[in-house]
């Protein structure tokens, strides 16, 4: 009887469970089936025709009218489409594509900090098309500001068209400087700068500590420090890709920076760009001067509208009399994938876009970036006064310095080298504080030792990579 009841229960249970599975399983399966069918029937987002990937929305906004006209004028070809992909996903997707032959766009814009990854293998394995011969044959080396090619040149081959020059000027709070009766035209070198501007360092809240400092720079901000190394003629790699960090120039710049961020001669404050805290310090007048690449003009106009009419630009003070009055910070290139379906059309479009005077104007007006195309430099919009910069013409000021921007390395180990130099700066500052030694000359020996350590570490990594080695 008991057995019969159990059998009955099992039969009932089986009948309630709609065969093998319960109702729930069938519902989930049905939902999965319906959604799968929906997804399969959904129109595909796949773009047929040339594709361009970029990482910046502002770039797309500037390119769209030109792309539209290109598509209108080339109706015999499938239309070109632009897609925005965030910088990190773009880097990962592109690298995967180049290494594993998964599909990538025909044209791709990359930022300088990404480029090393793509140049770290054998030169013949770089996923971008080698443009060197095309650039020579079509005279583009002469047409485009020459130093702008350097970040996109690996082992003598050029893999991209430069989007920009990104010269760096010194932006200063004209309201504070002029109120103090300081004439910036008398500043030629960094020594002049510290001497003449020093009265502006102030304790504003009466707590016995200075609050306002002369320069936005910190020993942990390696991007800003790199600007100064490059300006001084320093570099982290030689022409053969060999680490060359421990040089006299680099040691002197490092020691000077450390003397600026601590001790009795301190002139620098840490007010990072793109942060609320940094912007607060700028708005509160705690920062007198900043290193301002052209792209930062657009950022400031957008993020710090309250600074309108308070900022002026001037050439960077040189490291020595008659020295370079500018440097360089950041950069973007447009490359063509080796796997592009139609290399010639991609090349034609790349030139059409990047050499366009219309693009030069829209990029300058929207984000303040000057074109690397030299014939665009005479266009009148670069001479228009900007109310934000006290009616100076920032475009012209940047163009005046554009031919002088220093050359840069494209070494895949540059970001690593920067990290090691940053560590050297941190250690040198600790040394200066521990020994109460803030004199540049007295710090030089220690700076050399720390830079030698950084160089050794980078060389070790370069040496490990058999697919990319310098001539050492």
């Amino acid at each position: 009887m008991a057995s019969g009841t159990a059998r009955q229960l099992n039969i009932n249970s089986a009948s309630r469970s709609w065969g093998t599975f319960s109702l729930g399983v069938w519902v989930i399966t049905a939902i999965a089936a319906v959604t799968s069918i929906f997804i399969l029937l959904r129109p595909s987002d796949a773009h047929h025709g040339m594709e361009m990937w970029t990482y910046a929305r502002t770039h797309v906004q500037n390119y769209e009218p030109i792309v539209k006209r290109w598509n209108d004028n080339n109706t015999d070809q499938p239309p070109l489409g632009i897609f925005i992909i965030g910088p990190k996903p773009l880097e990962r997707r592109l690298l995967s594509g180049f290494l594993s032959d998964t599909p990538v766009a025909d044209l791709i814009e990359i930022e300088r900090s990404m480029s090393g990854l793509f140049f770290s293998g054998p030169v013949e394995a770089v996923g971008f098309l080698d443009l060197t011969e095309r650039l020579h044959d079509e005279g583009l080396f002469d047409e485009i500001n020459n130093p702008s090619f350097s970040p996109w040149t690996s082992r003598g081959r050029v893999f991209g068209l430069p989007h920009d020059v990104h010269p760096v000027l010194l932006g200063y709070r004209a309201d504070l400087v002029e109120k103090a009766g300081i004439d910036v035209s008398s500043i030629e070198t960094w020594d002049d700068f510290t001497r003449i501007m020093k009265p502006l360092i102030k304790d504003l809240d009466g707590d016995g500590r200075a609050d306002r400092y002369l320069l936005n720079l910190w020993h942990t901000n390696i991007d800003a420090m790199e600007v100064l190394f490059l300006q001084a003629g320093g570099r982290f790699f030689d022409d053969n890709g060999k680490a060359a960090i421990d040089s006299d120039v680099n040691a002197r710049v490092l020691a000077t920076i450390v003397s600026w961020v601590c001790g009795p001669q301190r002139i620098a404050i840490d007010a990072p760009e793109f942060t609320a805290s940094g912007n607060r310090l700028r708005l509160d007048g705690l920062v007198v001067c900043s290193l301002v690449p052209d792209w930062l003009c657009g950022v400031w106009k957008n993020d710090l509208p309250a600074m309108e009419g308070k900022i002026k630009l001037m050439p960077l003070p040189a490291w020595e009399p008659g020295g370079r009055r500018t440097s360089v910070w950041g950069g973007t290139m447009l490359g063509i994938a080796r796997t592009a379906a139609d290399v010639e059309s991609s090349w034609e479009f790349a030139k059409h876009l990047y050499l366009s005077p219309e693009l030069a104007e829209s990029v300058y007006r929207t984000v303040g970036i000057i074109s690397p195309v030299k014939r665009s430099w005479s266009l009148p919009f670069y001479d228009e006064p900007s109310p934000y910069f006290c009616n100076q013409a920032p475009g012209r000021l940047y163009i005046d310095q554009a031919p002088n921007v220093p050359l840069r390395t494209s070494s895949p180990f540059n970001e690593m080298a920067k990290d090691h130099v940053k560590d050297a700066a941190v250690d040198l500052r600790r040394y200066a504080l521990a020994h109460e030694c803030f004199d540049v000359e007295a710090l030089l020996d220690q700076a050399h030792q720390l830079l030698a350590r950084a160089e050794l570490r980078v060389r070790r990594q370069v040496q490990r990579n058999v697919f990319y080695r310098g001539e050492d």
Partner: protein, 293 residues
């Protein structure tokens, strides 16, 4: 009944198959592949060079690896010796019947765990800012300290441990609270009757009673500490911070594999982390077995 059983014999395998497929594809295969990668230097699948144990050998001479290992160990020590005692203390306070609104306090202390690590990094980034950071403003206004106190320049590891403390102390408190609620009151009462003071009751009655849970929480904390990545990565701006004071093993693995592109070396680091965690797991197992015996 028999018919139903025979008809169902494939069902367990069918139900297991999603897990098995995912496990084989995304755990087993990459694990085997990573061991192969750890013995190679590669640039994509087309360029590969066999190094044997070369990557592991390089690790031994790599100062950054040792820095990362040291930082990770310090963070783990902070987790075990600062965070867990705080969690246990909180749990004991909130387990006491003398505390009012215990449920509310439990919720309050647990609530940071509901916030994602990314938000914690952003919040603590703002707290530790120089001049404009809440902590420096508070200390400057209260004690007249330097408003530029460099938390994230010179005191990276303490800053990380403080952030992790805020995040996890309530989470671990829940484990201890559950364990404390299972300590038999009659044992504590008996000790009290025998003249044991509060410290002796805690040390000789409570601690042995919660030891299995405590061992488990210590293991979890150690594993979590050795997997630390998001908090320093975001708090220190995608880097190990000044002088790599916040560089952890997993961050170094990420930097090596995905920023430098040396997947072989990154795999070697991954295997070292796995071996360290394996040692902890075995240690925990041996401890548990000893307690059970």
């Amino acid at each position: 009944m028999l018919t139903v059983t025979r008809r169902n014999h494939w069902v367990p395998y069918f139900l297991l198959s999603p897990f098995l497929i995912v496990f084989l594809l995304f755990i087993a295969y990459p694990t085997i592949q990573s061991m192969s990668l750890a013995m190679r230097q590669t640039y994509g699948p087309q360029f590969s060079r066999f190094l044997g144990l070369g990557n592991f050998q390089s690790l031994l001479d790599d100062p950054l690896f040792w820095t990362a290992l040291k930082n990770t160990a310090i963070f783990a020590a902070g987790s075990v010796f600062i965070q867990l005692p705080c969690s246990l203390g909180l749990a004991m306070i909130l387990n006491s019947s003398r505390v009012r609104s215990r449920a509310l306090f439990r919720l309050i202390f647990f609530s940071p765990s509901l916030v994602g690590l990314v938000f914690v990094a952003v919040i603590f980034g703002m707290i530790f800012e120089k001049r404009t950071g809440m902590l420096n403003i508070l200390l400057h206004r209260t004690f007249g300290t330097d408003p530029e106190f460099p938390w994230l320049d010179e005191y990276v590891m303490p800053a990380l441990i403080i952030a992790a403390l805020w995040l996890y102390v309530g989470f671990n408190m829940v484990y201890f609270l559950a364990a404390l609620q299972n300590v038999r009151q009659e044992l504590i009462d008996a000790a009290y009757v025998d003249g044991a003071g509060s410290w002796h009751r805690f040390w000789h009655v409570t601690i042995p009673a919660i030891r299995p849970v405590a061992t488990f929480v210590v293991l979890l904390s150690l594993i979590g500490s050795f997997q630390l990545f998001e908090l320093p990565y975001l708090l220190l701006g995608n880097s190990g911070g000044p002088d790599n004071q916040g560089l952890t093993l997993v961050m170094y693995l990420y930097q090596t594999g995905f920023e430098i592109g040396d997947l072989g070396y990154a795999s070697a680091i991954g295997w070292v982390v796995t071996m360290i965690l394996g040692v902890f797991a075995v240690g925990q197992r041996l401890l548990s077995q000893r307690e059970e015996a």
